[in-house]
């Protein structure tokens, strides 16, 4: 059991941090725009292919390395299609779009949400008859950047995966009727495996966001003066900052552990659900307290802290929220006795 980064992983972290800081733009409220320059930098770093084998065109690293990059993105508070592209690529198998996705020459995102439907990794109202799809995907992330799309549909033989090279969006909506789609090898096992990876990356990004939200809060408590003294003189604030730190470190352990787990067991759905719950609870706690401890300044768009909370909220609602994952876990709790994390 070892939670330490290797030297290579530290070097990757530093390279990612440097690349991100060079291209970082100020966050904006609402839907994230795609930043082509940052994307190019992440691609040049090899960041988009990290968890995929070299023979498939990837970098031959693993989920731990991809997590390292996602953590830096979250810490910097930049929103990119990083988790989306890696999730999409993980569903593409040997499809021709895979190479374009991991080289960064084409933005490829997963279209997995159905409008006004609670999260389900299994398609319900999206169906396929051969390569002919029906149904709607919305919201599709980064639709404004006109990405290629990987989606799933219910077929006669179970869940099918489909690549769409040049979809036409209406806002973030993708009506699948009549689009030109290509079936990709793979079934719901591959879909879930891709979502597992995506959930890890989002969780890592959330961890980075929590880290920064707490850091900003601590600095603010040291510098902001009221009643003639810095806010850190008030224990009602510092005790809450201590709880935020505790939440952060619990989430960190869970995220690191999930990365190690997926490296050897990419289909470990229980591990994914547990991490999403832990990160969900920590993220909500830290995000809310970070704004509250800042006071009014935390509400403003020009100050970074609220954007971290917005991102944490977005992540909470992606690939199943705390409720979804708790419910999934609760259905299985009678099937085993005690927990065993080290074997």
């Amino acid at each position: 059991m070892n939670f330490e980064f290797t030297e290579d992983q530290i070097a990757l972290r530093d390279a990612a941090r440097e690349a991100i800081s060079r291209h970082r733009t100020e966050p904006v409220p609402g839907t994230a725009p795609h930043d082509g320059e940052l994307w190019k930098a992440l691609a040049e770093l090899g960041g988009l292919g990290l968890p995929f084998p070299e023979e498939a065109g990837g970098m031959g690293a693993g989920p731990v390395e991809a997590m390292v990059v996602a953590l830096e993105l979250g810490r910097a508070g930049v929103r990119t299609a990083y988790s989306e592209t890696l999730t999409a690529a993980a569903m593409l198998g040997d499809d021709e779009l895979f190479g374009a996705a991991v080289e960064g020459s084409r933005v490829v995102v997963p279209a997995l949400f159905e409008p006004m439907r609670a999260w389900s990794p299994t398609p319900v109202d999206v169906r396929a008859d051969g390569d002919a799809l029906t149904g709607v995907r919305e919201p599709v992330p980064y639709a404004a950047a006109a990405p290629a799309v990987v989606t799933t549909a219910a077929t006669a033989d179970g869940v099918g995966i489909f690549a769409i090279d040049n979809p036409t969006f209406t806002g973030a909506r993708l009506d699948l009727a009549g689009v030109s789609a290509r079936r990709v090898d793979g079934d719901e096992v591959l879909v879930q495996r891709a979502i597992n990876l995506g959930t890890l990356l989002l969780s890592a990004e959330a961890l980075g966001a929590m880290e920064s939200a707490l850091h900003l809060t601590v600095e603010y408590l040291k510098s902001r003066k009221q009643f003639g003294v810095p806010l850190m003189k008030f224990q009602t604030l510092t005790q809450r900052a201590a709880d935020m730190y505790t939440s952060l470190e619990l989430a960190r352990s869970a995220v690191y552990y999930l990365a190690m787990t997926l490296a050897i067991r990419p289909d470990d759905a229980i591990g994914v659900s547990r991490t999403k719950v832990i990160v969900g609870k920590s993220g909500r706690h830290i995000g809310q307290e970070a704004i509250q401890l800042h006071g009014g300044i935390g509400m403003t768009a020009e100050y970074a802290v609220g954007h971290h909370t917005a991102r944490l909220t977005e992540i909470e609602h992606t690939y199943g929220d705390t409720r979804y994952h708790l419910s999934r876990l609760a259905r299985g709790v009678s099937e085993y006795g005690g927990l065993d994390l080290v074997s």
């Binding site: 850190m232 619990l250 709790v333």
Partner: protein, 393 residues
């Protein structure tokens, strides 16, 4: 980063499991499982079996019975012990005064005290808190004045856990009332409980049990060679004592075992046409507690791997904070599962209600202590905010 245990650590784990599940008498482990109070004799039997197997003080220096284990091995040892419902070696001996004497005591003191401390031939109790000195421990007022080659001790200690069984007490006393800082005028003395002038009075707690005591010192004469280390350095020793262990701070094996038991209990309590475990709210509470526990246990494993030669580390405050909270959450849950079957606390042979259910409320009430002792959770938050976050209040 590497998940899982090495083959050597796997082997170590099965040895520990084998030992704790076979060598410690079943009647003691059953009592622990049901939350029934242990007698002095139960503690002694269990401790001595571990001592004879060389497993009572594995974290001490090797020359005094230590094993030179890695932190991960120490974690596995504690985990397996707790999972098997084995009472830990007496903490006052194994985790408190033993390591202090081994680190700061003179050679003579080590030779005199460490062997009987390891074997539980001396039962120690802790004399730190006083009626006016709880979280503000450094304000303590029990005095020790040197008179010839003896200290004369006067004052009062409180919350002395299992003091009714104790042979000796390690006490913090004020030896220099004029010190610039309160912390600099405190020493640690070793005092026999049967010394003339020592009296003990029980305190009954809300669970009905007698676990803690008041201890009074009235002109108690203590030979000066029973001073630990140097005079006026007692505060440093006390800090060492409270902060030297990280692996054992959060009883994750204990919580894990209680949570597994909670599932069995919920499956045993009828509800409607089925059992409580079928209630989705109960199942969700279990799932959430398991997530909380996993986050804590992984943090123990992660933090333990970074420990630095037994020096106090503010990170252990997280473990104390979350460990005590989660202990309390699980016991609250078990009391809720017991429901009306928890309303009678009396263990009766004829009862159709299981011992765990009779015990559920007193055990729940008893463990409200966990967030108070060893530095209250508010103190732990203070340690985190100042020591880690740099928020100087």
């Amino acid at each position: 980063m590497q998940r899982g245990l090495s083959p050597e650590d796997e082997q170590f784990r099965s040895e520990m499991r084998e030992f704790f599940t076979t060598a410690i008498p079943q009647d003691i482990r059953d009592k622990v499982a049901a939350g029934t109070e242990l007698s002095k004799e139960d503690f002694e039997r269990s401790h001595r079996i571990m001592h004879e197997a060389g497993l009572a003080v594995p974290h001490w220096p090797a020359e005094w019975g230590g094993k030179n284990w890695s932190d991960l091995q120490r974690y596995i040892y504690l985990d397996e012990m707790q999972l098997a419902n084995v009472p830990a070696p007496l903490a006052f001996n194994a985790n408190m005064i033993g390591p202090v004497i081994a680190t700061f005591g003179s050679q003579t003191m080590k030779e005199r005290f460490l062997p009987p401390t390891a074997s539980l031939d001396i039962w120690w109790c802790q004399g730190f808190s006083e009626p006016e000195s709880g979280s503000d421990l450094a304000s303590l007022r029990t005095t020790a004045v040197l008179d010839g080659d003896e200290y004369v001790v006067n004052g009062q200690k409180t919350w002395t856990t299992l003091g009714q069984h104790a042979d000796w007490i390690f006490a913090l006393v004020r030896t220099n009332p004029a010190a610039e800082r309160q912390q600099q005028g405190i020493s640690m003395l070793l005092i026999p409980m049967d010394a003339p002038g020592v009296t003990l009075r029980p305190i009954q707690l809300i669970d009905g049990g007698h676990e803690v005591n008041e201890v009074f010192f009235d002109n108690v004469r203590v030979p000066a060679d029973q001073l630990v280390g140097e005079e006026n350095r007692g505060w440093d020793y006390a800090k060492f004592l409270l902060g030297n262990e990280r692996v054992g701070v959060a009883p994750t094996g204990w919580i894990k075992r209680k949570l597994a038991a909670a599932k069995e209990y919920a499956a045993a309590v009828a509800s409607g046409d089925g059992h409580l475990i079928d209630d989705p709210v109960i199942a969700a509470r279990i799932a959430e507690l398991e997530c909380d526990l996993i986050a804590l246990e992984l943090t123990v494993l992660r933090v333990a791997a970074n420990s630095h030669g037994g020096k106090p580390d503010p990170a252990s405050s997280i473990l104390k904070l979350r460990g005590s909270e989660l202990q309390q959450d699980v016991l609250e849950f078990i009391a809720d599962i017991a429901g009306p079957s928890s309303l009678s606390w009396d263990l009766e042979a004829e009862s159709a209600i299981a011992d765990w259910a009779h015990n559920a409320t007193p055990v729940y009430l008893n463990f409200r202590k966990a967030s108070i002792y060893g530095g209250s959770n508010e103190v732990q938050r203070q340690v985190i905010s100042t020591g880690i976050l740099g928020l100087k209040g």
